[in-house]
Amino acid sequence: MSNSKQTELISVLKNEIKDFEVKTTVRETGTLLRMGDGIASVYGLDQAMYGELVEFETGVRGIVQNLEAKTAGCVLLGSDHGLTEGAKVTRTKKRAGVPVSNQLIGRVVNALGSPIDGKGAIEAEDYFPIENEAPGVCTRKPVTVPLQTGILTIDSMFPIGRGQRELIIGDRQTGKTSIAIDTILNQKGQNVICIYVAIGQKTSTVAKLVSTLTKHGAMDYSIVVSSPASDLASLQYIAPYAGTAMAEYFMKQGRDVLIVYDDLSKHAVAYRTMSLLLERSPGREAYPGDVFYLHSRLLERSCRLEEAYGGGSITALPIIETLAGDVSAYIPTNVISITDGQIFLESELFFAGNRPAVNVGLSVSRVGGAAQTKAMKKAVGNLRIDLAQYREMEVFTQFASDLDKTTKELLNHGKHLMELLKQPLSKPLPLHEQVILLVAANHKIFQGVSLKEMKAFRSDLMDYFRAKHSEIIEEIDEKKVLGDELTEKIVRAAKEFQK
């Protein structure tokens, strides 16, 4: 320890001892009756509130989750080591919360907001309760500002607005997290703070994600809240609420926040574990009766605020993992009904090489349309209908020689569109690139290009635009409007390139 630190420590100790006096401390206490699997039954605590933070004799904290006539059921937020029957439990008279500050940006924290990245302490500016009431009707503003994901399929057909809740749903290994990460990467320079909440994941997965974000410079505007699979169910349960509390801190400052909950299926499982141990009645699939409220009260906190109330927004991207594509299971249907749309990822599409494997037919964005830029809205044209027609006719591709000219053209156009929508990982597209590609596709510029050459062709096309027609790019980025004149310019330039 350096000399200056020693002197500082000695002066702190001296001051504390100098001011030391025996004051009367009033505490409300209870007695630990029984404990197991992170759940404690405490006798007494007559005045304890639901959701109140209590402190056990060893210093470990817990949250009151069940209030009964003579006892209170608490979930432990740390190790039960050293706790025995009869141990004293003290009320803190505070609701469970997390310390918040601007210093959280760029850090990896646990569900209690404590840093776990070894980069030192985070100085708290405030303390936000993890459970907070969602903003009321009058404090909200309609979703009108787009949040670009940089993923062509999503930005064109299922646009997301700031303040929206868009569910990402699909089987395991279909690219759910990748969509979330790409969206985070695309927020660079967009003045959006990103919070990634990892619930019940492997620590190695979270470490990999942090390294990806760091590599692309996304940690400069991101916070990672991690509650890995090795954490207690209680910590996994509070992790998304803690992340939302942090998001609310920034939203109240007027900032735009993007929060990813990865994933709420594991969150529901953690809550089920906790509820069963708390002896609450199991319902469908053994989930407790309030599992809908568990997610609805979490996602209702995402919104866009009126200027008078801070003017910020929280955009939520909850992730749900399905089993064998079954979207009619309990938790998926719950979250589908809560959110403002869903991006459905399909294993079949994924293995067929269509990545992101978005099922265009089952995906929807209920409020994002109003937030889509005019340029994108016009550029999209009939993309969804064209794709739907292609998927309908796809089955006939094996009879290619017997098909009429119109059907052949339709199938060819569809194939090119599918190829166009393929996008590699960590390569989000800027708005101008998306608009140019869509306009080119709608004007059948790619028609003569073989599918194998599509990737190289679109890359060369964009290089050409950047080199020879930077004024088009600038116009799209500045005005975000696509007039007939600009469309013509794009088509002309693309045809020039074709020659």
């Binding site: 030391f20 401390t25 009033v26 206490t29 006539a69």
Partner: protein, 168 residues
């Protein structure tokens, strides 16, 4: 420690208006003669036989209540019931039960002061103050009222100081 079950039985006991001596005598009997408690708790012993024993051993005033406990297999929690009964009786009489742990025995005037403070704070007629010497407090005292602790001990102050230093 009073469970909800014991509390319900205590309410029944209060409504029966049985004298405190009888209740206390019953508790002592069960505490001293453990074989009797075990026999009354044993599910292998027939109910009628248990009733016969109850009629023989206990005061006539409490026999019916003891039979009720026997039928509900609650003989084992008699001590808890007695505690709950005491709390209920105190509540009815407007008496507050408190416990004072000290290192140096307080004087009568000090005790009176404490009682007056509690009567005022909890709006009660009287205070039943249980006294207990606790050398582990190092100095000062701790007053327990229900789940609330009024800690003016050296031990408590040191632990507060320790917490403050850890937080810094």
């Amino acid at each position: 420690m009073i469970t909800q079950r014991a509390f319900h039985f205590a309410k029944v006991l209060t409504s029966l208006q049985i004298s405190e001596e009888v209740i206390h005598g019953t508790e002592q009997c069960l505490l001293i003669c453990l074989e009797l408690t075990e026999a009354l708790e044993n599910p292998l012993v027939k109910k009628m036989e248990k009733y016969k024993v109850i009629e023989t051993v206990f005061d006539a005033a409490i026999v019916d209540f003891m039979k009720l406990l026997c039928a509900h297999e609650a003989i084992g929690i008699f001590e808890e019931i007695q505690e709950a009964y005491e709390a209920l009786t105190f509540e009815q009489r407007g008496i507050l039960k408190a416990k004072l742990c000290y290192t140096m025995e307080p004087e009568d005037a000090q005790l009176e002061q404490i009682k007056n403070m509690l009567c005022e704070k909890y709006q009660k007629k009287d205070v039943f103050l249980q006294l207990e010497e606790a050398p582990s407090l190092i100095g000062g005292f701790v007053l327990y009222v229900g789940g609330t602790e009024f800690d003016k001990s050296i031990k408590g102050a040191i632990s507060e100081l320790q917490k403050a230093l850890i937080e810094r």
